[in-house]
């Protein structure tokens, strides 16, 4: 199987968010960037498991500038065969999806993987967009994927339960927790990753339709009000009269 895994760069979960002076962007000073965990832990690892079992290749694709090579190398160290980087600073979801689809449409990939969302913008948009550009089925929030020849059986998380679907390759799949287990790159992987190819390709022209105007920080939460553990009537009163939550 020929598999493509879309990986994204995101600030680490524990990043303290600060804005630039004009509030037009996240202040990148001191921000630790990582590979989006859903891409790394679940999408990439499940793709690798499939090729390890049945043969094939795993290609990574990332949309970004050269400073993204660190996370691409990590993906190669975990086990991907090669990588493509579309050389443009990512803007809207649609523009990122367009760049991925442009590469994928000539790549003859059997399955295109990505995480269910990135942990920075949490939009869940890119997978559906790539699928639409390529006219492929899209199975989102997959927590289990089994392949029998070209037929995949996939469990996907839905509100309050699970749906099981069957689909033939090619398709696009977004990975949720459960699809695979996180892998830590070993020394051999790290060494071989240095010689694996990253093809840098030029972006196609695309006019952004949704433009970020500004950012703001949420209002500070007021200090917690402690309630006597022996007086739960008081907590109920506060929830009813003050918070109006019940």
């Amino acid at each position: 199987m020929k598999l493509l895994v879309c990986i994204s760069k995101t600030p680490d979960t524990t990043t303290k968010i600060a804005l630039t002076g004009d509030k037009s962007a996240l202040d990148a000073n001191g921000v630790q960037y990582i590979m989006n965990p859903y891409d790394e832990w679940y999408a990439l690892v499940r793709a690798l498991e499939i090729t390890e079992k049945s043969g094939g290749t795993v290609t990574l694709i990332n949309v970004g500038k050269a400073d993204n090579d660190a996370i691409i190398r990590k993906g190669l160290a975990i086990g991907a065969n090669d990588a493509v980087r579309v050389d443009i600073e990512p803007q809207s979801s649609l523009s990122v999806a367009k760049q991925i689809a442009e590469h994928a449409k000539t790549g003859n990939y059997d399955i295109i993987f990505l995480g269910k969302e990135t942990i920075d913008y949490n939009g869940s948009e890119v997978g559906a967009m790539v699928a639409e550009y390529l006219d492929l089925p899209f199975i989102s929030y997959a927590s289990k994927l089994e392949l029998d020849g070209n037929t995949a059986t996939i469990s996907r998380d839905i509100e309050g339960g699970v749906e099981v679907v069957e689909v033939a390759t090619p398709f696009v799949i977004s990975a949720a927790k459960g699809l695979a287990e996180q892998r830590i790159p070993n020394m051999r992987g790290i060494m071989t990753s240095k010689t694996k190819p990253i093809a840098v390709v030029s972006p196609v022209a695309f006019d952004d339709l949704a433009v970020t105007v500004s950012y703001e920080l949420p209002k500070e939460k007021s200090a917690v009000k402690m309630v006597d553990p022996n007086d739960m009537d008081e907590l109920v009163r506060l929830l009813h009269e003050e918070a109006k939550a019940i």
Binding site: E125, A128, E132, D157, A243
Partner: protein
């Protein structure tokens, strides 16, 4: 025209559908437009969406729409957008809505913003806000295309009854064949799914074991809440995976979130910090969750929770 995709489950509209129609109605009023709802598949009382502000309900009924496939649904919604001339589409920010948003944005070359939680600013262009970085910041976007698509988070606003039932008009749309075969759907019966729940009672490792969950379920029953859990609890199979809230689980924003025996790791907070009111019950006064809470109770949960259940029961009794 503003078109609202009214999601339903086997003919029963979700609360998110009424919220989205109310949202569309308010945007229509602000922009001098009109708001219509779109229903895919069979739902007997589609006209009821009119009560929340839809002046018309368009419906496409076809056996192929009984199961959800984003590719089929997107094709039908795009056709409905064209037939009705709608310029703004509002989707629920549910697993269904999220799968459709990206598809339709690509298909219609439309600007899209996922997870909007407030009305747009429309005096100069069209701008919307949404939380980003797991609620640690808010971003404002300008949507510059002719056709615009947004998904609305649950509990962003309350549904409001503004009128009467609306006329239902069948739309004639060619429904493409699905390439995805649904083999089974399993849902926990009789409970409000977490993303839609207004009240959530959630518990963590402090519970010591799955056999102790009776006090959590009793508390949830008394106030009509949905139960949830932290990641370690789901990982240990103490509770089902679909109850797991947090960064890797489900992100929720209920009116009230009661966290019991959960320390409040940043990954957990990322999924729940948009809750309107947070109550934390923990015996460790250093638990980081207290910093994110509105109300805190420092004490042994095995004593505090039954006491709180009794207090709610008394309150419910006194308030009919």
């Amino acid at each position: 025209m503003i078109l609202i995709f009214a999601e339903h489950q086997k003919g029963q509209f979700k609360k998110a559908a009424f919220e989205a129609v109310t949202y569309g109605y308010k945007v229509a009023q602000a922009t001098g437009s009109s708001c219509a709802a779109l229903v895919l598949g069979s739902a007997s009382d589609a006209g009821t969406l009119g009560k929340y502000g839809a002046s018309k309900v368009f419906q496409v009924e076809d056996a192929a729409l009984e199961n959800f496939d984003s590719q089929v649904y997107a094709a039908v919604i795009a056709a409905a957008m064209q037939q009705t001339g709608a310029k703004l589409l509002v989707l629920p920010h549910s697993s269904t809505g999220k799968s459709l948003l990206g598809r339709l944005a690509a298909r219609l070359n439309a600007a899209s913003v996922a997870g909007v939680n407030a009305l747009p600013v429309v005096d100069n262009g069209f701008r919307v806000k949404r939380p980003v970085f797991s609620g640690k910041a808010i971003a404002e976007y300008e949507l510059k295309s002719d056709i615009k698509i947004i998904s609305l988070t649950g509990n962003a606003l309350q549904p409001q009854v503004t009128g009467q039932d609306a006329p239902v008009e069948a739309l004639s749309v060619t429904v493409p064949a699905s390439r995805v075969k649904v083999k089974s759907v399993e849902r926990a019966e009789g409970i409000v799914p977490l993303p839609e729940a207004e009240l959530v009672v959630s518990a963590g490792r402090g519970m010591k074991g799955p056999e102790n969950w009776g006090i959590i379920e009793e508390l949830a029953n008394v106030i009509g809440a949905t139960t949830a859990c932290s990641r370690p609890v789901a990982d240990a199979d103490w509770r089902p995976h679909h109850e797991h809230v947090g960064q890797t689980g489900i992100a929720i924003r209920p009116n009230l979130y009661i966290a019991i025996g959960i320390s409040g790791a940043i990954q957990h907070l990322a999924g729940v910090n948009s809750s309107k009111t947070i109550v934390v019950i923990n015996k460790d006064k250093e638990a980081p969750f207290f910093k994110a809470a509105d109300y805190g109770v420092e004490g042994d949960l095995f004593e505090v929770v039954p006491r709180l259940t009794e207090a709610f029961r008394k309150f419910k009794g006194g308030n009919g």
